[in-house]
Symmetry: D3
Subunit: 320 residues, 6 copies
Amino acid sequence: MKSLYAADIHEHQLVDSYFLVSAKNHGVTKGGNSYLVLKLLDRSGEIEGRVWERADDLGRGFEKNDFVRVRGQATLYQGKLQIRVQDVMRVDEKSVAAEDYLPKSAFDPESMLEELQAILRGIKNPHLLALAEACFADQKLMELLKRAPGAKTIHHPYLSGLLEHTLSLLKLILKVVDNYRGIDVDLLLIGGFLHDIGKVYEFTFDRALDYTDEGQLLGHLVMEAEMVSQKIAAIPDFPQELAMLVKHMLVSHHGAYEFGSPKLPQTLEAVILHSLDDLDGKIQAIQSLAEKEPGSKWTAFHRAYGRSFYRGGPGEDKKE
Amino acid sequence: MKSLYAADIHEHQLVDSYFLVSAKNHGVTKGGNSYLVLKLLDRSGEIEGRVWERADDLGRGFEKNDFVRVRGQATLYQGKLQIRVQDVMRVDEKSVAAEDYLPKSAFDPESMLEELQAILRGIKNPHLLALAEACFADQKLMELLKRAPGAKTIHHPYLSGLLEHTLSLLKLILKVVDNYRGIDVDLLLIGGFLHDIGKVYEFTFDRALDYTDEGQLLGHLVMEAEMVSQKIAAIPDFPQELAMLVKHMLVSHHGAYEFGSPKLPQTLEAVILHSLDDLDGKIQAIQSLAEKEPGSKWTAFHRAYGRSFYRGGPGEDKKE
Amino acid sequence: MKSLYAADIHEHQLVDSYFLVSAKNHGVTKGGNSYLVLKLLDRSGEIEGRVWERADDLGRGFEKNDFVRVRGQATLYQGKLQIRVQDVMRVDEKSVAAEDYLPKSAFDPESMLEELQAILRGIKNPHLLALAEACFADQKLMELLKRAPGAKTIHHPYLSGLLEHTLSLLKLILKVVDNYRGIDVDLLLIGGFLHDIGKVYEFTFDRALDYTDEGQLLGHLVMEAEMVSQKIAAIPDFPQELAMLVKHMLVSHHGAYEFGSPKLPQTLEAVILHSLDDLDGKIQAIQSLAEKEPGSKWTAFHRAYGRSFYRGGPGEDKKE
Amino acid sequence: MKSLYAADIHEHQLVDSYFLVSAKNHGVTKGGNSYLVLKLLDRSGEIEGRVWERADDLGRGFEKNDFVRVRGQATLYQGKLQIRVQDVMRVDEKSVAAEDYLPKSAFDPESMLEELQAILRGIKNPHLLALAEACFADQKLMELLKRAPGAKTIHHPYLSGLLEHTLSLLKLILKVVDNYRGIDVDLLLIGGFLHDIGKVYEFTFDRALDYTDEGQLLGHLVMEAEMVSQKIAAIPDFPQELAMLVKHMLVSHHGAYEFGSPKLPQTLEAVILHSLDDLDGKIQAIQSLAEKEPGSKWTAFHRAYGRSFYRGGPGEDKKE
Amino acid sequence: MKSLYAADIHEHQLVDSYFLVSAKNHGVTKGGNSYLVLKLLDRSGEIEGRVWERADDLGRGFEKNDFVRVRGQATLYQGKLQIRVQDVMRVDEKSVAAEDYLPKSAFDPESMLEELQAILRGIKNPHLLALAEACFADQKLMELLKRAPGAKTIHHPYLSGLLEHTLSLLKLILKVVDNYRGIDVDLLLIGGFLHDIGKVYEFTFDRALDYTDEGQLLGHLVMEAEMVSQKIAAIPDFPQELAMLVKHMLVSHHGAYEFGSPKLPQTLEAVILHSLDDLDGKIQAIQSLAEKEPGSKWTAFHRAYGRSFYRGGPGEDKKE
Amino acid sequence: MKSLYAADIHEHQLVDSYFLVSAKNHGVTKGGNSYLVLKLLDRSGEIEGRVWERADDLGRGFEKNDFVRVRGQATLYQGKLQIRVQDVMRVDEKSVAAEDYLPKSAFDPESMLEELQAILRGIKNPHLLALAEACFADQKLMELLKRAPGAKTIHHPYLSGLLEHTLSLLKLILKVVDNYRGIDVDLLLIGGFLHDIGKVYEFTFDRALDYTDEGQLLGHLVMEAEMVSQKIAAIPDFPQELAMLVKHMLVSHHGAYEFGSPKLPQTLEAVILHSLDDLDGKIQAIQSLAEKEPGSKWTAFHRAYGRSFYRGGPGEDKKE
């Protein structure tokens, strides 16, 4: 049904396809005529649509976050591709496959979840294993985990991004602990599994990715500390000290007060968790940035990291 | 039984009284003889004790945090009063009244708790009133609240200091809201009541005031957010948004990331709570500092606030 | 004469009213025609006006900061209301009531000044009372105080905003001191009265609110410290130490070096003054923000405070 | 009368000389005997004195800030020279020349003042010249300027240090303006003359150098802005804008909020004044530090600058 | 050949001149027609050009960084002068004098270089003199030094700006050292000469001024430290300690970690170099800012310094 | 020869062994007798020695950094073990094995170096392999690398600590790159190898570990960037861009300006290098801290990290 994706549209092409409307704004030309500026989303990316004729009439038929069928022609406006829209109308969300319209992980969530569970089932500490299993048994949580994004913009900002990041982090933990003696790998694995689990309620991701009110006012650190306490309370004989160490990893994993951690990491495992979480996020963010606009030696500026990145590879001798 | 308090001892006085040993260190004179340096605590303050003779023998008979009977004579050492201890021996804790040995609020905890409860029972919102009552009904919590200190050093650092601060804050809230329209006074009162309640588990205060491991690794903000969630879970029909607003006040009440709040205050009530909490603590701390060493126009340096305070009153013309 | 206010204009309405021109810019359409973009101010707010025809001719007849009569029709441009101006011409400032054109306090300045004077006449310290009376006797100062704004943008940014804030602060002080022993209320009241008095010369507020050169180069803290010294010099037997304490409150009331206080608050009264001044400003700013765009649960972003505020009230259960 | 200076005392020397007591503390030996630890000051530096015998008796005869005659013998204690005091007694301050007892500038204050006045009398702007002359005519101010220190510890911390620093700065200004066009040299000279003038009241320097209460609560920036305003008020036709520019230089000359300037330098002359003032202070401080402990290639750690300085000169080849 | 400069064009003038294209962007009118927006550069400044007709055709004939001949008419658009371009075509770079098209120093680079060399040949230390001569003998370096800019935007951002700044700094050093004893003037002169020499490779300045990749990834501090090491390595018997002191000045001359110095200045000469370098840059930047838009009393906002500057001179009495 | 190590000495033991004197200070008892306080070092740690008798005589026979033979008896002084020294005399350094006297890595430097070389010889990029080999061929560099410490105090502060840290980092890199696609492992391995190589000249480690003057004034980042440039210059056809990327990793590896990096990491490999370097150092530092004072649940306070660490392991249930 979704036959043409935003990323594949080329200049002059006639378009007849479905999109998610992520923004809808009215304008008036200097000659006094109404027009509409739309942001049209699908999983491949975003394209602007402009309605120059019958804008008032067509505009009444749909709202932001609706799915629509769009007909028109692609043209180049100020160096960017746009659809000059001839017709646009709302379609029922039952008639579309939502997955076609939101960016999502390149990996299959079911497979990732299986791999993640397999890793965590290797935990030897019976209390921590029981905690992992208690989470697996929470079907709503698992369903949300399969869809939730890793963040709004900084890293893994797409459907299933949270799961992709969590799995990558667990595999990274397994490799790193191998290099050192004396790290409690079970504790670190549970910390890796749960460190961002509160994001399933911190964000809405049915349509446009955004913060929930609770996410904005409490944050995933506080939300997941409470969530994990509830799971632990239902496990018989879970040691108090162990519960404290698990929750300490969660509330300290941003690593510094200014990033919203109310406590600094104060155990070896909490220090390692913060470090590897940060590293895994940065690698994804930089690589994703580097894949865009491949013509240039420098990426676009990354606001959160305060810099551009140089992508010119060293393997070949570009300058000589 | 406790006949003589540290603060009342004067030079040359013969001392025979009971103290709590809050520190016990060994020394050796340059001539090679053992001696003991003790910190002897009672509720009026602290005095140093030095055991010059039979130090090894006497030292074997008691440890830090024991109650002891001390006999000796007060002398001035380098400008500070000390007890030159002749004899010191452990006494059973059953034979002392613990309240005599730890600094405590000038106000009666029972009366303060009654006054606090009376204020909170004026709450009109039935959900918030139910939350207050649920806390009142938790006898262990109320017992701890009656004894817990307000902080380790910064403000209200004595037994029942938490209750004294909480009550003072509630009364301040009632006055301040009177000056403005549109503040949700019920919400603010609950916030005032619960903002530091996690300190009952963040500190140990049986003997020497100190942090618990959980207090150090999680902090009272996270601890009390979870504690309040549990109370709310047991109240039928407690609105989700209201629960979120209560918890937001708790986790944001330090007002800034660098003071350990994972979220900034983002409601009018959270902003006011932070401001008044901070003000009440500062007033207590400055006044307490100003009461010491009354001879000088400047107080001692306050480390957390980074300054001394000028206490020379303006009512009289001191300089002319 | 001023029959229609900016805030009351609705789409399609024919407009014939008077405004203050707070900005006047020329543009040229892509077709090469001149047009004018005006900011039209009255006390209810601001509306944009666009002159599409005879722009050069009409533009020659008035300048920024003139009062003008505007005729045209209101239309919606990109979601915002504008006046499509048919005619605009300068009117003499004598024929308008300036108060109609600038945003101002909701409270009557005369009444506020009376209430403020009544509070300050309750001061018992004869020196401080004499200082207050010396200020009241300065007619130019009192006239400016009745009109001056509280700030350019952060809080109370409208005519008589300084007086409104000062009065609110004095009333807040009276309530707060009631909760504590040992505060010098007379000193605190004088501090509250004078803490921002330099703003009467820091800003121009005849037309568009802006900084004076002196305000920008010296600031109200330094300006008012000097102003108060001059008043004090004319009062016989004013104690030197008291003068120092008054001026200390003025120069320290921003509370931190980074907010332009050359000294930190170092007396109890200076600490309290800073805290309550900050709180009163924040309450006004947040409530004012919350009154705008009432449809959303979150306010617009407040630049100086670095956040949006959640305004969803807790009294009703919005989410269930 | 003052025959032997602290800096000239060597080990084993018999001492009989006069000093200023800048500290006096009691101690008790481990064997229970009283002793006194004195800081004995003269203009060459400081030496510790210890009274082992008759400490109580001798101690009753003098206080801190008294002048005393000391007899004893110099010995090396833990690598530092001390006087083992046999006798110490108070002498009347009339019988000593105060200048012998406090560190002071290597330059003659009278000559420095004359040179400073000669430079300032070269000012061409009649208003600014009149301001300089008004200061010269203030005899009390000139007397204090001749004695005041440049700072408590950071730079020029000795009698007449303020004058030495001010003169050096004026001479530096004259050289620097020569390198650029378009600097208002008259304005900059007045700024250099007055930028620290408030220090004459910020410090006490009769005996031990310390802050006054007013210095601590208001600071020299605010104090001198007011002082200069008073001088200007007495000069007929002094232009308002010029007064503002002079005062702006004073209040902004610390260059940054965190160093206590309520305003940043916002004129070319204020920027230059801050830069050269800072440079002149640093050169004096580093050179003074480098003159001490000449054996080492590194100076002692300078707290305010947060580093040690390398003093190994490059003219000779030390390492090869 | 270059007959008319951007800064001399006035409204309505017919233009036929040569420019460097520093930006070239496509647009589409609301009516659907293509147009071009050009930035046209010459050494006097920049002017916008708009091509409304035959935009696609004309646009194919040239690219960014080409030299072009432009014909059209100057008009005022939204208060700014633009060229309404009738014709634009590429011209060969051999037929233009590049110096006409880039902003450059008001001083002749040859004369500046001679003056700089004369100063440095006054160095008495034979090793440092040899280092200066080694640099002079590097013809490529001298050629680049004659053209390189002082910075991208902050100060001296034009051709030969680096040389102008370096020479001004050397002359300033000579004046300042005259005011103090004990400064190693030879060392300071070499530091002044070489402190920014790495900028010749940090920037590209053939056409549009920009960072090189190496400049962005290593920075001129590191680049010049290595460059100077190579020069020194070729000088027989250059003392190791002296080399270290020279390089220390280079790597520390930004004065603080946050400005990219890996080490703080730790010698007297390094402290002075940082201070005077900073001052010389600021004077140029403020004076350059003050020369623009001469009608206003305040300059435009300077981003790097975080403020506007007041330029109203004190010599005349503007306000009375 | 070295029969008894500091860490093995127990109370009352008679000591006759060899130590390195890392500090030697004179004291005088209150009774006027000279004594010596020594710090006696061997590879197991440090013990204090006190010479109460014949201190002047014995003290003349040796200096700081000498090896000495010490005879005496171990006693407990204020809770810490000391040697009450009867006799102490200098021994020739040829008669001791220096390795016995300085703390050193638990791993054999020869084996570590072999393992490190084996890893680096796996590099596929011929230029980078040539760079590694050029370093291996520098015998002086390899000798220093085998002995140099990892830091003065923060992490790996012992002989061969640099090599231990470097090897651990290379092994960590090999594991981590395995978790991601698209990382240039050769570049990262060279970065890991060389990131701290400048420390071989930043520190002296013949006797007491300390900074060299060059280390203090230039730092290992700048020193090693130059060192690596020299190696590269001798390799034919080494690509310029690759050289730049290698040096970028070196100068940016501290990760932030405030830690002395003049540039932020701006390539994927530089970001990863900084992160893993930081992590490896922290793991060593925390584990080393946790091994001391094993009785307590909390480690000593770590100054550089600003916290203590909780070492109570979760594997067993300590609190229940």
